[in-house]
């Protein structure tokens, strides 16, 4: 008789108990120092107060020092804090006329260590001004003649969206500034309530590369006002932020374990170079997402032995312009084990299934996006589909967009594949555009008319397909007017060529005839002489 003994149960229980009791811990202390300085700054002295107007007193004080980092000053009027500032002057406005005010100043450092308060200093505002009567025409003329002597300097610094205007007068004034694109100055208005000799104001929310006019007006302590200056300024132009076109007609040829890539560089005038990036996992999504195989301006590249280690390679070619803007990328996959031509992105997503379904419709249930959501633009003009066909023209690049809000956050990329009836398919990557409003790609211009299929493959962050859908592009030649103009030009060129040829033949014939006549006459003269 065979007997069996087992302690499976006992052993298992023991191991489980050991695991539960075996957690290990470690203590990590995190410390942060906030402003270790404990020494306050020195007292800001001397403090001076100057009445400027019936409503304004200017306060100034000496610079304090600190062993660590002096940060600013606190200004008190009649023991009430009225301002903090990093400057050493302050214009206290909105005061009552003929009233005495007392000021003190404290300095503080970056740790909020505060100095001892300065000794109090007092002064009295001016009496209220006598309101002047309405100006007569002669008074206005007098004021006008006074403008040149009041305004000493004006300086304007502009950038793309703002302008900083600084000016100096030889007397204390308040000011108003109006600006606009035309002389009605309808875009903005500012006015200050401080009497000063040096003024600066910033105008923002301006358009780049635009000329604005402005009017600067002064208000004196006596209540009169007059125009200081009317002039204009122009904001700086925006830098080029437009991405260049992608390369065209990207093809790949396998030669053993090597790959030869060929393409046509974009025709953008500021095109500078292409960068070829390869990755054996997925299409490189940006210019640093993989191995940089080539950089330059050539239109072909031989990638030697690239298929010896990995059986498949994904390529993306990015084009650059002189400003550094980068195209979305033209993509192609090369598979060593595929006996046919290198795979395009369209083949890579097993597009056979989707081709059996209705064009123009989303063929998966993962994402509710289809061809009707795609925006097609040429020359910055949106072209709407007619019967699910988008008609475009040859000779102009095409911008393909899918609105960002229609796509999920975990989206990785979108690849669009375009194929003519007798052409090899060419694929491009759609990337998020600069204002994050859409996934976008700029497709090079079409050279030939005809019907092209356009297929989209949407990948999530795990490079799994979320959706595939397709549509049709109907590429037409130039417009009839453009064609007529071109044909007319061609005819004019032909007529001109014929006329030149006829003239040339006429001149040649005339010369030959002249030469023949002269030679014959010379022969006759010799004959008569003999």
């Amino acid at each position: 008789m065979i007997r069996f003994y087992t302690n499976i149960f006992i052993g298992t229980v023991c191991i489980l108990v050991a695991q539960v009791a075996f957690a290990v811990s470690d203590t990590v202390t995190v410390s942060q120092v906030i402003g270790i300085d404990t020494t306050p700054p020195t007292i800001p002295v001397p403090v001076t107060v100057t009445p400027i107007a019936s409503t304004q007193i200017d306060v100034a004080w000496g610079v304090s020092t600190d062993d660590q980092n002096l940060t600013g000053y606190r200004l008190f009027r009649d023991a009430v804090q009225i301002a903090t500032t990093s400057l050493t002057t302050y214009s206290d406005t909105g005061l009552l006329a003929s009233t005495t005010y007392t000021y003190t100043v404290e300095a503080y450092d970056w740790s909020f260590n505060i100095s001892t308060s300065s000794a109090p200093v007092s002064t009295t505002t001016f009496p209220a001004p006598v309101i002047a009567p309405a100006p007569t025409s002669s008074a206005v003329a007098s004021a006008s003649t006074r403008v040149g002597s009041v305004l000493k300097t004006v300086q304007i610094e502009t950038d793309k969206n703002s302008a900083s205007i600084s000016w100096e007068t030889n007397m204390f004034i308040q000011y108003s500034l109006r600006w606009g694109r035309v002389s009605v100055y309808d875009l903005g208005f500012v006015r200050n309530d401080t009497f000063k000799k040096e003024h600066t104001t910033l105008i923002d929310d301006l358009e780049p590369g635009t000329t604005y006019v402005y009017e600067l007006r002064a208000y004196t302590q006596s209540g009169t006002s007059y125009v200081l200056k009317k002039d204009s300024f122009t904001t700086e132009s925006s830098p080029d932020t437009n991405a260049p076109s992608n390369v065209a007609d990207l093809t790949a040829t396998k030669e053993g374990d090597s790959v030869k890539l060929s393409w046509d560089n974009p025709s953008d005038t500021d095109f500078s170079k292409v960068r070829i990036v390869r990755n054996y996992n997925f299409y490189p999504l940006d210019p640093s997402n993989g191995f940089i195989a080539y950089e330059g301006t050539a239109e072909s590249y031989f990638d030697a032995g690239v298929l010896s280690t990995y059986t498949a390679q994904y390529y993306t070619i990015f084009s650059y312009d002189e400003t550094g803007n980068i195209s979305s990328g033209a993509v192609i996959k090369v598979d060593k084990n595929d006996a046919n031509i290198p795979e395009t992105a369209r083949e890579n997503v097993d597009y056979q299934d989707s081709e059996q379904s209705t064009p123009g419709q989303n063929n998966t249930e993962h994402l509710d996006v289809d061809f009707s959501d795609v925006l097609v633009l040429q020359n910055n003009v949106r072209i709407d589909p007619v019967n699910e066909i988008v008609s475009i023209v040859t000779g102009l690049p095409v911008v393909i967009q899918i609105p960002y809000e229609l796509l999920p956050e975990h989206l990785k990329t979108i690849v669009v594949t375009i194929q003519g009836t007798d052409d090899e398919p060419v694929s491009y990557m759609l990337r998020v555009n600069k204002d994050k409003s859409a996934f976008e790609a700029m497709i090079p211009s079409f050279a030939y008319s005809g019907e092209y299929s356009i297929a989209f493959s949407v990948y999530d962050y795990k490079t799994e397909i979320l959706s595939v859908f397709d549509g049709t592009l109907l590429v037409k030649g130039m417009s009839a007017l453009t064609q007529f103009t071109q044909q007319t030009a061609e005819i004019q060129l032909s007529v001109r060529t014929i006329l030149i040829a006829v003239l040339f033949v006429f001149l040649l014939s005339s010369y030959a005839l002249y030469f023949f006549v002269m030679r014959k006459r010379s022969g006759e003269d010799k004959h008569l002489g003999a």
Binding site: N7, Q19, V28, T29, I36, H410
Partner: protein, 253 residues
């Protein structure tokens, strides 16, 4: 026909114990189901005295694990398979001094990090958690710096408002849990583990920051824990040295 039936019966009698015996011997191995995993088992047959010319052995059957006995200086694991415990360790952690010092008036940001290397031979992996000893974690007497408080998932970007003064952390490493992975824009979405992204606040409740489902012995896996304090320019944070005591725990699964 009769002889054939008899032959079948005899064969069954002879081979059935052998088949059963083979099955039980084969069962002496690690087994798993949906909810449990047996890491060590054994099946024993018989026992008794075995002799040769020079040796004799009295073997046993049906062994019993007596269990653990611990004293101040020694730990005893008595009995069959009692030494087969799961090994796990944390190394590499150190005190974190955030740098630079932050001016109390102007505010600013400071950073620091520590690395926890977890080694375990647990076939089911491990889980690494972090928790704070106090709430908020960072304190200096009565003065405190708040815990970073994202809404829901961690913030992809560490953001400090003008009146904020807060401490955040983010783990980085191969085993970081999904909550701290990102899609390049949002956290708890995608599979990227971007540097200095996905910031969360400490809590007195242990929060998982890394986990794995298999053994990593003997190399272990490092998880870096990055800390950051942000103080806004209107936070008016009192000066001094603030400290947060945190506990990092590795638990075998």
């Amino acid at each position: 026909m009769r002889y054939r039936s008899l032959s079948t019966v005899v064969s069954a009698i002879l081979f059935t114990p052998l088949i059963l015996f083979s099955l039980h011997i084969a069962g002496a191995q690690i087994m798993t189901s949906t909810n449990y995993q047996i890491e060590s088992d054994s099946v024993n047959v018989g026992g008794g005295l075995s002799t040769s010319t020079n040796y004799s052995i009295e073997s046993t059957a049906g062994e019993v694990g007596t269990g653990a006995s611990d004293s101040v200086n020694y730990s005893l694991r008595a009995g069959y398979q009692q030494m087969q415990e799961v090994y796990i360790s944390i190394t590499g952690t150190s005190e974190v001094i955030l740098s630079p010092a932050i001016p109390g008036v102007t505010g600013g940001e400071s950073n620091g990090s520590t690395t926890a290397i977890v080694r375990t031979d647990s076939l089911s992996g491990y889980q690494l958690t972090i928790k704070a000893e106090g709430s908020p974690a960072m304190q200096k007497g009565a003065d405190t710096i708040a815990d970073y408080a994202p809404v829901g998932d961690p913030d992809y970007t560490f953001t400090t408002g003008a009146t904020d003064a807060h401490l955040g952390f983010t783990p980085e490493g191969a085993d970081v849990v999904q909550r701290f992975l990102n899609s390049g824009v949002t956290c708890n979405s995608g599979s990227s583990n971007d540097v200095s992204s996905c910031w969360d606040g400490l809590s007195t409740t242990a929060v998982p920051i890394a986990s794995a489902t298999g053994s990593n012995h003997p190399t272990g896996v490092a998880t870096s824990i990055r800390f950051r304090v942000g103080v806004g320019d209107s936070a008016a944070q009192a000066p001094g040295t603030y400290t947060a005591t945190t506990t990092v725990t590795a638990l075998p699964l």
